[in-house]
Amino acid sequence: MPLVAGIDCGSGFTKALLVAQDAPGETLRFAGKAQVRSGVNVDQAANAALDQALAGLSRSEIAYVAATGFGRYNLSSRDIAITEITSAARGSFFLLQRPGVVLDVGSQTTRAIAITHRGRVHSFKSSDKCAAGSGMFIARAARYLEVPLEQVGELSLKAAHPHAISSICAVLAESEIINHVSAGVSVEDILRGIHDSLADRAGAMLKRVGMNGELAFIGGVAHQQGMVRALEQRLKVKVSVPADCEFVCALGAALLGLQRLARRN
């Protein structure tokens, strides 16, 4: 049975996800997924991710490749290129099975997306340069604070007196963190402060696209418990984080790929 690959060529990581479907309407079968660091060569990263996802299966099984994400146009094996926002919407809709609002925090950009009842993008807002707040920003802070990235979420939950990061400029925000450190603020409080301010900025974007009571949180940062808590507390919303939250764009691309393939045959 032919496989469809959704490949999300992000700036930080490249994710590949394989799906198959006998016929439109039939149940989907997930044939595998994998994630690798993007590095400088999009094709290399994509192939690596694809091979891991195939887990022994042959490349020839792949009938259609839908590329999304930052490097989508550089994926030579692509059949179609779709923006990560459209695929994020599609992927989330598949998981939610209803219209709603999605927050996608990637390593470079943060996006708020409102989805229609048919899984299309209704409206969206991307973070601009003067808005510190993406995966990369947290990663840097973590390194500076000498905290392994995977512990960030946990530590942030332990904060007693979150120390807000007020600056909007990422550069100044980094300086602010450094100055908090110089001022002797605890690592936990700084981390939670970062999550809080990220949540506030996300909130501003979400309001622009029309946020209702619920929120689907996707992207690698969604793994950070502290960030989820911050969103729930600051924005007073119910936050749901799908399993494999970092694969949602790849999934969306794969689903749209299936459609095109079906139309092609």
Binding site: S11, V40, R140, V171
Partner: protein
């Protein structure tokens, strides 16, 4: 012999320099360099201890300690503080007496300083909010490229067609770099472009002063050969780069500390700072 120490607590690294004055002349007796990390006071302390050890001089023999850099007020054992602007000027004047202009790319700011004949600050300018162009700018660029900070300088020197970098906004330059990577541009050309962008940026910063030769570059970035060369190209003249460039703040602080010991320098800055940090 009078012994004094200057401690420069920077955003990424803390440096300490132990200096001695035997009446014949002032000498740097030892240096120490540690990562600042999340505990500033500890970093400052260990830098201080290390450089005492390196010099084989017991801490109690140190007559006076001056702290500088962003963490200066966290130096619990310090006797006084000075800003790194005064210290870099002073240090540069000591190591390169002809210095009239200092260019320093620190982790948080980049600055240009006009220095008087006796090492005093005549005028200084620092980067605008929206044009950091600082050491961190380079560090982040290196990170996005997945290259170590020490490699980017030499790499940039191999650029044949440096890319155009429109912005000195650290956040946007990252996506610029990613786009260029996506376009398949060579790493050396991207780094070349980044270095050129900062060099030009720094030049226009320095232009706000009257740029007098000789020019001395201080701070950690001075170790980046690519940056030095890029600066020399846009400035159209050679830069002094002392092997102690990244200790310059600490050296300046050490010199102020020595002066304080000798009481040759009586200024209310001292009353101010000294009183402020005793209690």
């Amino acid at each position: 012999m009078r012994i004094a120490v200057g401690v420069d607590v920077g955003s990424t690294q803390s440096k300490a320099v132990l200096m001695g004055d035997d009446g014949q002349g002032i000498k740097i007796l030892s240096r120490a360099l540690v990562d600042t990390g999340a505990n500033v006071t500890r970093a400052a302390q260990s830098a201080f201890d290390q450089c005492c050890r390196n010099a084989g001089i017991p801490p109690q023999d140190v007559g006076f300690i001056v702290g500088t850099g962003y963490g200066r007020y966290k130096i619990t054992f310090g006797n006084a503080q000075m800003t790194e602007i005064s210290c870099h000027a002073r240090g540069a004047h000591f190591l390169c007496p002809g210095t009239r202009t200092v260019i320093d790319m620190g982790g948080q700011d980049s600055k240009a300083i006009s220095v008087g004949p006796s090492g005093e600050v005549l005028d200084f300018v620092m980067n605008d909010k929206c044009a950091a162009g600082t050491g961190r700018f380079l560090a982040n660029a290196a990170e996005v490229m997945g290259i170590s900070l020490d490699e980017i300088g030499p790499l940039s020197l191999r650029a044949s067609h440096p890319v155009k970098i429109a912005t000195v906004c650290t956040v946007f330059v990252e996506s610029d770099i990613l786009s260029y990577l996506a376009q398949g541009k060579r790493a050396e050309d991207i780094m070349g472009g980044v270095h050129l962008a900062i060099a030009k940026r720094t030049l226009s910063l320095a232009r706000r002063l009257t740029i007098e030769p000789e020019i001395t570059m201080t701070g950690g970035v001075a170790r980046n050969t690519g940056m030095v060369q890029a600066l020399e190209t846009v400035l159209g003249q050679k830069l002094h780069v002392s092997p102690d460039a990244h200790f310059m703040g600490a050296v300046g602080a050490g010199l102020f500390a020595l002066e304080k010991l000798g009481e040759s320098f009586e200024s209310s800055v001292w009353r101010e700072h000294a009183s402020s940090c005793r209690n």
